[in-house]
Symmetry: C2
Subunit: 418 residues, 2 copies
């Protein structure tokens, strides 16, 4: 089917999905989850073809992201059932005003309409994005990367079968068939058809969407996250937090990429950092972290010299850029210039310094004495996540169900005029 | 000053303004209001030059919008003082979660950063936009239309003098000096400098911003508003509401442009409508409304034949397009295709019909038995208004102070790792 035809069908399905009641939606999610596990064989077959075709063309890490197993499919179905258990984000009262003339003005949450999601090679994004869109009353138009298209198609087929089994419109969940760049461009410029575009993937994809989209677009995911070790920091705590933020899962967007250290504690802390991230990890058979040091840090410990670009790179790897600063202000200023406004932390024992950092750093999540790794829909109590917004309009930080809704004013009168 | 230099200064002023406490901001607003009235003579002189230069080039309505008087300047200053009295929208708690491991996650409202406002010839937008931006902790970059630039410049000079009188940074309020299209284009594409762009003006300006902006932009103002008269409507009430929605102020965006009438009541209601909007208004020396009738309506009463474009036109004048429909569903469907998603109303005595309309019509404000003219920040209890958003992301409907903020997550731990 042509992409424009898919968009026509998506738009036509909006009134139907937005009128579904909570119970029907939740029953449908359970039916889709069941349909997904029932189709496991077909999905795995499609996935093998994807993996076979991709092998040799993409890295082993990417192959792992692409590969499905019976267990992974079961986990996807479980994730869907968890979303069914969350409260319905639609038609919730957000405020109410009764005027002296009896006019009653209510602010009510409503679905956005058609949500397009452009993603890459992780097949589980297909079911995640579909169920979050569905639960929030939105029609989704999914555009999977070429490498994962067969898998995505098999998954969408199963989900649509689940909808059909309850007599619901299959068009609530759509997959774009064209995997060339042209279809991505079509979604980005589908004014009047796409109400919200969410790119999920690497920095290149996100930049392309932000630059080329004429439909509303939410920038997600890129994270150049900082941990600043203040002069008053508990240095043992700082080392713990940094090891966690850097190494617990280096490939995710809330992992730390840059460490800033106050010059007062640099002589003490830098050797601790090296011992913790390099020496001890090597001794214990763990992957050591490659430290990329600015001039002052390189005067204290051994490591690779950092280039300027190292403070503007999302490594997503066991690499940490390290810089010595002379003040909290310099740290805040550095973060302002280099951060992607995702998650940044200070380690300090000084409440005033903490407060200055929390107010001065303009990121989706700002931390005192905790790891940046907590920035996540599940950890933040949203129950699920469509992505992490690094921009400021509409949604910031983890986007759960509520962030996939908008609102309208419902006004009831008895002939009121102005 | 070059526009890019103004943007540099705006960006540099962000940390300062976002750190101001409520009391300082309110004192500054009073000082700016005082400075504005003190500068009345200079402002009026600048405004005379604007009016003189514009006369002959723009319509008399536009000349009236452009013209200032001592009274209008006093009203602008009063409007500013009213904003000072509103609660500070910044650093409000929007939610809090304490996790079992003691990590405390708070969601807190914060300023957006640099807000650019591109507007046309109404000088009072200058002080309105400046005070709303300032109170919400944002640096504003104002770009006035050419015709009103001298007036805008005199107003901004006064406001900046007010800031200076308290020792505050004048750069919190900036006016672009270049009034060519080039400066508008620069603002629309100032990624990394402009956090939010708000166009305020005619449909052409807004379309240009939406199509060309690479910075986040909020579509405002265009209103093709409908009133649907249901088969069960109190017809006297319907006539009252329509006269109010159409004629109380035809030039504003919440005025009605289209009337839909259920065929069951068309024979009774159309003559009532003509009597009310045409005959009685003519008899009483009021401007009569020009009715533009679809075929079926033209079979019942006299009036001009409506062309197809009349159902897609924001007349902003004493003109009303009229169409007969056979059902509520047809009305909702027509509104879905032709509305600008601003404000639409149903007149009905049937609760089920009202509910169907309220849920089915996807507009910022949906009304039962009341005039569309209520869609306004003041009427909706926001206290003020930067414009009315007709899109769905971030802010919908009237935008007050809260809609000029975003939020961030403030997370406090004691060494928590994941």
């Amino acid at each position: 089917m042509r992409t424009q035809e898919i968009l026509n069908r998506a738009k036509a399905a909006v009134p139907g999905i937005s009128a579904l009641d909570s119970e029907t939606k939740d029953r449908a999610i359970y039916a889709m989850a069941e349909s997904l596990t029932a189709a496991a064989e077909d999905i795995l077959a499609a996935n093998s073809l994807d993996v076979e075709a991709a092998r040799g063309h993409i890295s082993e890490v990417m192959i792992d992201r692409l590969s499905l197993s019976a267990g992974r499919i079961e986990a996807m179905a479980d994730g869907m059932r968890q979303v069914a258990e969350l409260p319905d984000p639609v038609w919730n009262g957000l405020g109410k005003l009764e005027r002296p003339d009896g006019l009653v003005i209510e602010k009510v949450s409503v679905p956005i309409g058609v949500v397009a999601i452009i993603y890459e090679s992780r097949p589980n994004v297909t079911s995640d994005a579909a169920v979050l869109s569905f639960k929030s009353g939105n029609v989704c138009v999914l555009r999977s990367g070429k490498e994962a298209w067969r898998s995505a198609n098999a998954i969408v087929k199963a989900l649509r079968a689940g909808l059909k089994s309850l007599g619901l419109n299959e068009d609530y969940i759509q997959l774009v068939e064209d995997t060339t760049r042209e279809s991505a461009r079509e979604l980005m410029t589908a004014s009047g058809y796409v109400d919200l575009l969410i790119p999920r993937g690497g920095a290149g994809l996100i930049r392309s969407c932000v630059e080329n989209a004429t439909v509303p677009c939410i920038e997600t995911g890129t994270g150049i996250c900082h941990v600043y070790v203040d002069s008053s920091a508990d240095l043992e705590m700082a080392a713990n937090i940094i090891e966690n933020a850097k190494t617990s899962r280096p490939s995710v967007c809330n992992a730390q990429e840059v460490c800033l250290i106050h010059s007062d504690v640099a002589d003490t802390f830098l050797p601790m950092l090296k011992r913790r991230l390099v020496d001890e990890r090597t001794e214990n058979g763990k992957t050591p972290v490659e430290l990329r040091l600015d001039k002052r840090a390189a005067g204290v410990i051994e490591g690779k010299a950092a280039g300027a670009e190292d403070f503007d790179t999302e490594f997503l790897d066991y690499i940490l850029a390290v810089k010595v600063v002379d003040s909290l202000e310099e740290a805040v200023e550095h973060i302002g210039r280099h951060s992607t406004h995702h998650s940044d932390a200070i380690v300090t024992r000084d409440d005033a310094a903490a407060d200055k950092f929390l107010r001065g750093v303009d990121s989706a999540a700002v931390y005192v004495n905790a790891s940046t790794r907590f920035t996540d829909g599940g950890e933040f109590g949203l129950g699920c996540e469509m992505g992490i917004s690094t921009q400021k309009l509409h949604a910031r930080g983890p986007m759960g169900l509520r962030e996939l809704t908008t609102y309208k004013y419902v006004v009831r009168g008895h002939g009121n005029v102005r």
